[in-house]
Symmetry: C2
């Protein structure tokens, strides 16, 4: 059961003018599952993406980077679930390219105009012939109001589909931002999540769009973790069709740029937090806020040390205010000159530790009360500087072990 | 149930001439448990230690470092379980000092001649008056052949006591090395384990002894991980009483030094591996060997990325050869210029991946066979250089979650 994550309401997902989605059941790994998604967008759109920093990045990630760097503008993307096409060597690259060529042929495009994405089991051969066989059905299904089914079509161990949508006004025109994401395990994105796709009909220059997708990732997908495992396939793509017809956004610090940025970051953050809320085995949604650091990097190191600690995560699962475990994680986060005598620790509004020791007024029942909630903010103040960062994570439960001990069976 | 760890045989633990151990039940956290241990050693002994790098180090660790740096030679140490006296601020330091003073008074020593150690729950007040009340019983119990009970007296969530013993010949004299350790969770030592105490009657200069304890830690306790959580209390102490009476060992690269080093490293490694074999919820003992790195540091980074991955650890628990998870961990270990096309992966003798992809001869049933074993070696060859490192770890099971969700209740 995801933590406080309402089912998506298809009617609340605004179509993005200039963009269609088609979904099919291709039997990639199991029969009867929506496992193939094709997105197409209008000529003249701009596209920008960020990808995993995992050096063992999957074949589709490598091909995607190549195609985005090519001279021709991409016009479609192809996603399969059930097989990540990672750890598959030269053969995997060939299969990713073949899938692009197959879709390109049906759409009258060049192969480099198709971007491939895969997610699922690692180190198994991609059944590209099943993808080819499934393409006609996916293309026949193409329509603008198909975001909800597409969100379902990219799921793996996710228990619910994930989508978010916003509308803002730019240059007097209504601009839509709608996106979907998937991911529930192997989540500690380093650039993006497992898979996230956001479309908008805003008019945006490509360089500005690239800056926007990176900023959005840094404030959303790059601030979540479930198990600390950075995936081989993390990808976030932002497509701007330009159908809204306002004057082009050429800088994020312009008035229009700020409106668009706020909307894209908001959608990205909803999609990223949805991944944590549906984290494998998650029973709690936890924000870890670190204040008073010298820079954002050291705040993030402390926040991730807390968010990755199996001891902290199991204590949250048990609703046990065994909060010394949080202090221990702060201590091993790698800040060599940290002064433990300055540290404050709060659980929501409860002041747990002051100057590195238990606060004299802290009562166990206050900690217990907060720990029982399904949403908790851990706040650490390092008292070393003015920087802050927040990371979102979930607890570590029996179900996490069950899900990952059984995933392939 | 610990993994392939035979119960300790008290008669196999050679007493160390010049050193006695006394154990008592002081009711630190629960009644009826051996939770207080006093070690005493002869005047003229040398003592050296290494301690946690956690910046939130416990009060006893801070006091221990002070006392070791003082002008007077330490003559005794005091260990309590049930309370780590960590995250306790200035009050915790005062209580640690008071416990040293109490033991010193009974032994006619200065307070700085006593070294304090604590292990157990973090961020709770140390009941120093119970320690004081328990000291007479611990002192009355002092004897040389008490290593087995002392091993029991330092346990927390350990399911079995841990000890190892060796005898070697130096300068025609029989020299004994005997040690004990504890720890089962919050284990990713960074200098030493939770607690390890090794005694020898070898004659060793203090500077040489300090070098020896660091080398022993680096080859043993600093190469294990259970959950990646570096404790606030990690400490390893090496005491050389000199009772064997041979010519002093003044260099580890001398003939005598090499014999002593081999024995101390062997005892330390047995003690460290015993901690992994008794890791919280462990059902498997896994060696992660990384070859072909440019230096030991990058080998260790890759080995720890694998050893800390919850996805890898749950796959071992399930005996599921979902080995792409290991490649993914190699990829996010932080080696920026890693070439995935060079990587080999072996599970014991089974060649799983070659040049970054599934080996054409690899059969799932071969991987499955190895995964079902209780002892497994994962070997990764990076093919970048000549360096190697091995790290020892265990799997992640339902019992790990249960133990840490229930630890304080």
């Amino acid at each position: 059961m995801p933590v406080n994550l309402a089912p998506i309401d298809p009617s609340a997902l605004h179509p993005v003018p200039g963009l269609t989605l088609g979904v099919a059941q291709a039997g990639i790994r199991k029969a009867g599952r929506h496992d193939l998604v094709v997105l197409q967008w209008a000529a003249g759109s701009t596209v920008a993406g960020v990808f995993t920093k995992n050096r063992f990045c999957a074949a589709p990630v490598q091909v995607c980077r190549e195609h985005l760097a090519a001279d021709v503008a991409p016009r479609a993307l192809l996603v399969n679930t059930g097989n990540a096409n990672a750890g598959t060597g030269a053969d995997g690259l060939a299969r990713a390219r073949r899938s692009c060529a197959a879709l390109a042929a049906q759409l009258g495009l060049g192969p480099q105009q198709v971007l491939p994405f895969s997610t699922g089991v690692i180190m198994e051969t991609l059944p590209v012939e099943r993808i080819e066989a499934g393409l006609p059905a996916a293309l026949a299904d193409a329509k603008a109001d198909n975001w909800a089914l597409a969100a379902r079509g990219i799921m793996t161990t996710d228990t619910v589909p994930k989508a978010a949508s916003r509308q803002v006004t730019i240059g007097g025109r209504t601009v839509t931002v709608t996106g979907i994401s998937k991911g529930a395990g192997m989540i500690r994105p380093n650039m993006a999540t497992m898979l996230g796709f956001i479309g908008t009909d805003a008019v945006v220059e490509r360089a500005t769009l690239q800056q926007l997708v990176r900023e959005a990732a840094d404030q959303s997908f790059n601030r979540i973790t479930i198990d600390g495992d950075t995936s081989t396939n993390d990808s976030l793509l932002l497509i701007a069709t330009g159908a809204a017809g306002h004057a082009p956004v050429t800088a994020l610090d312009s008035a229009d740029g700020a409106v668009l940025r706020e909307a894209v970051v908001d959608v990205a953050r909803q999609l990223a937090q949805a991944i944590v809320r549906d984290g494998e085995g998650a029973t709690k949604f936890i924000a870890v806020q670190v204040d008073g650091g010298r820079d954002a990097d050291e705040c993030a190191r402390v926040a991730y040390a807390i968010a990755h600690s199996p001891l902290v995560k199991t204590a949250f699962f048990a609703s046990d205010p065994n909060l010394g475990r949080i202090l221990a994680a702060v201590g091993y986060a790698g800040i060599d000159d940290l002064d433990q005598g300055l540290i404050d620790l709060f659980l929501d509004q409860v002041h747990v530790a002051r100057q590195g020791g238990r606060h004299p007024d802290y009562r166990e029942e206050d900690g217990q009360r907060v720990m029982k909630q399904s949403e908790i903010t851990v706040r650490v103040d390092l008292h070393r500087g003015a920087s802050s960062t927040t990371v979102w994570t979930c607890d570590l439960s029996h179900d996490y072990v069950s899900i990952n001990a059984d995933y392939r069976s």
